[in-house]
């Protein structure tokens, strides 16, 4: 039975590593569909009074929108037009005034982002991801042990990569809210890894005679309930957001949903399993214990 768990965890880890490599390949191949926040450009969201097919609307718009543009449906009667930043039209946002009246266009949201600020955002966003992974890794090294820190950081990378690959594969837009979701995923996934890591540490100290593999199995077993329940409630609320949150939260909610699901997986199969392969033994945690004891002894 114990061996079954062991093989299951090892194959899960292998699967995750393969998935990470494949993700890297796929992302570099397909690239991300960067949203307007990053590329700059003009986005107009509007509502029509009339139900009209996408092709027909595309045809209608082509007559009035100068330069290239991209039309996408956002919901019932709710559309979005994206025009790239280097649009030579002097008034790129004014086309809606020329559309025929019977369409009943109501502008909901129109925004322009300069190409330059977008480039700065990419830089800042990448930096934020890097800084948070580093800061959190540092915290883990101080608080736990380098094996756990490395494993948890790898798990974070895993979660971010798999979420990104979803965006690359589906062609969904990667915008600023998705970046925020990625950072939230980092926070969440770590949360999971830490609770399990805490239990592993506790049990490794308490049971110096048992093998590490066994101890990790026991730790996972006793935290499984918590992992499942928290993931379930979090995924439920995110699903509510996905379903009811409206078009502008779609990307955010889907990124979070995938990230939290993958984060739960990786906390079990990557951040709990990997330390064992990196050579975690009882001695690693024993020393900290004796130091603590010394401190306790030193206190009057």
């Amino acid at each position: 039975m114990r061996d079954l768990w062991q093989t299951l965890r090892t194959s899960g880890l292998a699967l995750s590593l393969i998935a990470m490599i494949l993700s890297c390949v796929l992302i570099s191949q397909r690239g991300l569909e960067l949203g307007q926040d990053f590329t700059g450009g003009y986005v107009t969201e509007f509502q029509l009074a009339q139900d009209i097919s996408g092709d027909e609307l595309q045809h209608q718009l082509a007559r009035h929108v100068s330069g290239e543009f991209r039309l996408s449906a956002q919901g019932a009667l709710h559309w979005q037009v994206f025009q790239p930043p280097h649009n030579d039209s002097p008034t790129p946002l004014n086309w809606h005034t020329q559309l025929p009246d019977n369409l009943g266009v109501e502008i909901l949201d129109s925004r322009f982002v300069g190409a330059q600020i977008g480039a700065e955002l990419i830089e800042q966003g990448g930096l934020a991801l890097l800084v948070s992974v580093l800061a959190v890794g540092l915290y883990l090294i101080v608080r736990f042990e380098w094996r756990l820190a490395v494993s948890a950081s790898l798990a974070l990378l895993h979660d971010v990569l798999i979420t990104l690959v979803f965006f690359a594969a589906t062609g969904m837009e990667f915008d600023l809210t998705v970046l925020a979701a990625l950072l939230a995923i980092i926070g969440y996934s770590l949360n999971d890894s830490i609770v399990i890591g805490d239990k592993v540490r506790e049990l490794v100290r308490a049971r110096p005679d048992s093998t590490v593999s066994n101890t990790i199995n026991v730790a996972l077993g006793s935290t499984l309930g918590r992992t499942a329940i928290t993931s379930l409630t979090t995924l439920t609320t995110i699903a509510a957001l996905w379903w009811l949150g409206g078009a502008s939260l779609q990307g955010f909610a889907s990124a979070l949903f995938i990230g939290v699901a993958v984060g739960t997986w990786s906390s079990v199969f990557v951040s709990a399993t990997l330390p064992q392969w990196l050579g975690l033994s009882h001695r690693n945690y024993q020393r900290t214990l004796s130091e603590q004891e010394k401190q306790q002894l030193a206190e009057p």
């Binding site: 969201e45 509502q47 030579d88 109501e106 909901l108 949201d109 129109s110 925004r111 322009f112 982002v113 300069g114 330059q116 600020i117 800042q124 966003g125 930096l127 934020a128 800084v131 948070s132 800061a135 959190v136 915290y139 883990l140 600023l176 809210t177 925020a180 950072l183 939230a184 926070g187 969440y188 770590l190 949360n191 830490i194 609770v195 805490d198 239990k199 006793s222 935290t223 309930g225 918590r226 329940i229 928290t230 379930l232 409630t233 979090t234 995924l235 439920t236 609320t237 995110i238 509510a240 957001l241 379903w243 009811l244 949150g245 409206g246 502008s248 939260l249 955010f252 909610a253 979070l256």
Partner: protein, 604 residues
């Protein structure tokens, strides 16, 4: 005796703690209360002059109705308050009224709290709604401090040349070596002159630094701003841009506007309620400057005028910075003009100049920065009038030949609000319709309600009696979070903020789950409920703190890099972590003690 004293001493801190917890929840709950009463948007009309008398309420209603607005309520008084249906039309109505009542009354859009008086007295207000929930216009402007520095160096070079001529310094030449520096070059016999010029310039312009080197027989002194000087200059430019933009927006009559610095050289402006960005854009993005020059036939600066080119003395007699106030008006032929009132300093300059130049022409130059088709910013100048100085002028005179009434009004506004030295470019512009805002609020709160009820239902089903504790803690958490967000200034609720709220709900139960799982484990090992509770809370603490701290780290990183939507999300997330730790550990700890308090008595 001794034991009783001990019992009392342990009971007191516990009781105090309980009181404190209740007090915190009550206070935050009180702060959350105003959110039940949403603000109304109204027009506030304040009369400026007694004659001609401002129109009464009936006339105002008539005026508004003739322009297609529906008046829901009018409250005459000082100021008169008008409520429209829908309230989102207020900004458009403000423009119409301000135009119609020009000179008689000032018209502003104001937010009126509807909470009971005693709540308002406590200084409590609902959470501010972001543009994506409220509708409005957003601008992000880039302040080109580099261009401003270049311009400053150009002025210094002009000043240096003027000083050289005034003091009759021989053997020194002024050279613009680069965009951000200038050089004084001296022949061997001009070294003393160079030092005199150099110290005069250093006196006049702070933060300027000099490096001197010998090139053959020539002595070269390069003047430029060093790092600290540049930083000081940039800071000054940004502050000037911010104050100028604020006063311009104030002139537009938008009181709820947010104008803040974003990053090193961006400015973010949010105009809630505004639906037409064109008018605001014309005023906010303008970098118009006025300056007054003597004519110079030879060697002057050639500037485009109405008919052909005009040669100007590049040094201005005075600039827009010397103007105290400006008012658009009409001359006796009905042509638009702008009346200027100079500051006493500007008045002195004008007096000195006009005294010696009566009968000679003076040119008014209008310059602004415009972006060409490549997005490159350059200065465009035009002489708008050349007038002969008829008499000695003082602090008060007017500029004519302005073309249109609109142009005169805009110019007067810009001169009143102060000018900008640095060119501004709009890098982001967003207009959010009021219906999208309403849609966002309703969908955001629908998601919140569904997420909350599912989580509560699940916790009740799974943990039964302990679940009740989790549910109470969760509701207290939401209450505290909303209270904290209303209490803290500068927290704005946006759609991603609501998303953060929903996510917090899902994650907040984690604290309870960790503790409850521990308790179950303890119970399985045969501890009593009371002991299990105590050990459960104690042992779970380190996991909870670790887990929440790391999420806090990412939230803080998000907060420091993000603007707008990301920031809204990060703030709710960070505050949510704090409240969920408080509610998950402290509040539910107190609740469990209270829930299971009778157990040991019956068990004993």
């Amino acid at each position: 005796m001794n034991r009783r004293a001990n019992a009392a001493s342990t009971a007191w801190p516990a009781r105090l703690k309980r009181l404190l917890v209740v007090a915190v929840i009550l206070v935050l709950g009180l702060c959350a209360m105003p959110n039940l009463y949403q603000n109304t948007t109204q027009l506030s009309i304040r009369t400026l002059t007694s004659e001609p008398a401002a129109p009464g309420p009936d006339q105002l209603v008539q005026l508004l109705q003739s322009r297609g607005f529906t008046v829901a309520d009018i409250e005459s008084g000082e100021p008169t308050l008008v409520t429209l249906t829908p309230q989102t039309a207020s900004a458009a109505a403000q423009e119409v009224l301000a135009e119609a009542l020009r000179g008689q009354a000032s018209v502003k859009v104001v937010e009126q709290a509807t909470a009971p008086y005693w709540l308002q007295r406590l200084g409590l207000s609902p959470i501010k709604l972001g543009l994506d929930l409220n509708g409005g216009v957003l601008f992000v402007l880039k302040v080109d401090t580099e261009k401003a520095l270049e311009k400053r160096m150009e002025n210094i070079a002009l000043e240096a040349k003027a000083l050289r001529i005034r003091d009759k310094l021989k053997g020194v030449r002024v050279e613009r070596s680069s965009a951000s520096g200038l050089e004084l070059v001296a022949l061997p016999q001009g070294e003393a002159a160079l030092h005199q010029l150099q110290s005069a310039l250093l006196d006049q312009f702070q933060h300027l630094s000099v490096s001197t080197h010998q090139q053959g027989s020539l002595l070269r002194a390069s003047l430029s701003y060093d790092e600290t000087g540049k930083a000081a200059f940039e800071k000054q430019t940004m502050t000037q841009a911010l104050t100028t933009l604020r006063s311009r927006i104030e002139e537009l009559g938008i009181t709820e506007a947010v104008t803040q610095r974003q990053g090193a050289n961006y400015i973010r402006i949010e105009l809630p309620g505004v639906q037409d960005p064109a008018a605001a854009k014309r005023i906010i993005g303008a970098t118009a400057q006025l300056s007054f020059h003597a004519l110079q036939e030879f060697g002057g600066k050639r500037v485009k005028a109405e008919h052909g080119m005009v040669g100007l003395d590049p040094r201005a007699i005075f600039t827009g910075a010397d103007i105290d106030s400006a008012q658009a008006g009409r001359d006796e032929y009905g042509k638009p003009l702008v009346q200027l009132f100079l500051s006493s300093q500007g008045g002195d300059k004008m007096l000195r100049f006009s005294r010696t130049h009566v009968g000679q022409p003076m040119a008014t130059m209008y310059s602004e920065y415009i972006a060409d088709s490549q997005g490159e910013i350059r200065e465009s100048s035009q002489v708008i009038s050349v007038a002969t100085i008829q008499q000695v002028l003082g602090q008060r005179f007017s500029i004519t030949n302005l073309g249109s009434w609109q142009k005169a009004q805009d110019l007067a506004l810009l001169l009143r609000a102060g000018s900008l030295d640095a060119p501004l470019t709009i890098v982001t512009e967003r207009t959010i319709g009021p219906s999208l805002g309403e849609q966002n609020i309703s969908s955001g709160f629908a998601a919140l309600a569904l997420g909350l009820s599912l989580t509560l239902g699940f916790m009740l089903l799974w943990y039964r009696k302990l679940g009740v504790i989790a549910c109470v803690a969760l509701v207290a958490n939401l209450l505290c979070l909303v209270g904290l967000m209303s209490l803290l200034p500068g927290v704005v609720l946006t759609l991603p903020g609501i998303a953060g709220l929903v996510l917090t709900i899902g994650m907040a139960v984690d604290t309870n789950v960790i503790i409850f799982e521990r308790i179950k484990e303890e119970r399985r090992q045969g501890s009593s409920m009371r002991a299990a509770l105590q050990r459960g809370y104690q042992q779970a603490q380190s996991s909870i703190i670790d887990a929440n701290l790391t999420t806090m780290i990412t939230a803080l990183v998000l907060m420091s890099i993000g603007y707008g939507p990301v920031k809204g999300f990060a703030i709710t997330l960070a505050l949510g972590i704090m409240t969920s730790m408080f509610c998950g550990v402290v509040v539910s700890g107190q609740l469990s003690q209270w829930f299971y308090r009778t157990k040991p008595v019956t068990g004993a």
